[in-house]
Point group: C2
């Protein structure tokens, strides 16, 4: 089974490393990290570099494609080279999966039209812009598409795929291997779920995400490009 | 706050990326990935490369040191250069933390003598070889040392540290930002906990880990080195 993990500058690392840690352990899995170009990409905060060992020009098929998220997916939604590659690989997959805002990239590629899907809670409504049906479940499966909620949900997604692709016993062994028996601090009870988190915390996270998006848009907009060119 | 994430060839990626995804979001955090040398290190299965942006020769202090695990920690337990560096940095930290078999490296450095600690369930008893007190809790705190269980426990560890270092509201916002509301597949109920997993699964995981360790030891032993030199 060939598993392709897509990575790009501005990725949220856990979006892809969570699923990798589960799926690369599947018997017979051949896993590869693929980026827009070969080389080290940097995460959303520039802190961590991940190696893209192949470029998208070298890979045109996969049994399982994993598209993670990060603030940079805003730009990927308009990146025709990446979207065309995702469509090309998707045509060959058994399962196409996303974590967090990776779902918006799948949606922008036209793959989720009329399908139920989820993404990070803060941008869930945006799925409808591409004709998908926003669905507030941690893992959403519609046909061969599996879309997870934000960031850490990729681990749950991958374990569900492990059950499906390799059976319950293999999945149990992988879960025990990574000792996945989560126990968030009791003091934070419910804070990981937007529906249960304190409203003040939810507003604080939204405000920070909007500020970050606005900042990225200002670098990325046609007006900013024109300004940059005229300098 | 300066946070140092130690990385090395043979690391288990989620051990370090889980804590990174939480801790790098702390207000004022300056995070850096540090390896035995600068450059890209490869994970235990060779699949993923992570960038070590600094070498241990360049860093001699941290407010928070995170030492992750992986099969390669067997060799690190005997690597005097790495152990001396860990002791040097530890002398400056507010918190020294480990995930998975990273605890055995802290223990080998002499930092856990007489202290309660945990590591991956499969090697927990080995902590006693270094005078630590094996303790079967997901996160074990003893003085400034925080040691987590296997692999995925690093996320829980980091959230607990976020509460301690930045307060409950910041920690809640980080948890919501990464949507950490874990929901392992119901079909796998309890499999992430060695005390509750089916005995057959536990034995299968132990057998595979022992086989892998034996394979690494055969490359790594003095006898193997002598054989290699005489060829």
């Amino acid at each position: 089974m060939n598993i392709v993990f897509f990575v790009f500058d501005g990725i949220t690392a856990l979006d892809v490393v969570g699923p990798y840690e589960v799926l690369a352990r599947l018997p017979g899995a051949r896993s590869v990290f693929v980026g827009p170009a070969r080389g080290v990409i940097r995460t959303d905060n520039q802190v961590l570099g991940l190696a893209a060992d192949r470029s998208i020009d070298e890979i045109d098929a996969a049994d399982l494609l994993v598209v993670p998220g990060g603030f940079a997916t805003r730009a990927l939604e308009r990146d025709e080279r990446v979207l065309a590659w995702i469509r090309e690989v998707d045509a060959t997959t058994r399962v196409t999966a996303s974590v967090c805002t990776g779902a918006l990239v799948l949606a922008a590629a036209g793959l989720l039209r009329g399908r139920k899907a989820n993404t990070h809670w803060a941008v869930r409504a945006r799925l409808a812009e591409y004709g998908a049906i926003p669905t507030a479940e941690r893992i959403v499966r519609d046909g061969k598409y599996a879309t997870a909620a934000g960031v850490s949900a990729g681990i749950d997604l991958a374990l569900a795929l492990a059950v499906e692709l390799a059976g319950k016993e293999i999945a149990q062994a992988i879960q025990l291997g990574i000792e996945y028996d989560p126990e968030p601090p009791a003091a934070l009870e419910g804070a990981g779920d937007a529906a249960r988190a304190p409203a003040m915390i939810r507003e604080a996270v939204l405000a920070r995400m909007r500020a970050r998006e606005a900042e990225l848009e200002s670098f990325d907009s046609p007006a900013a490009s024109r300004r940059a060119r005229s300098e």
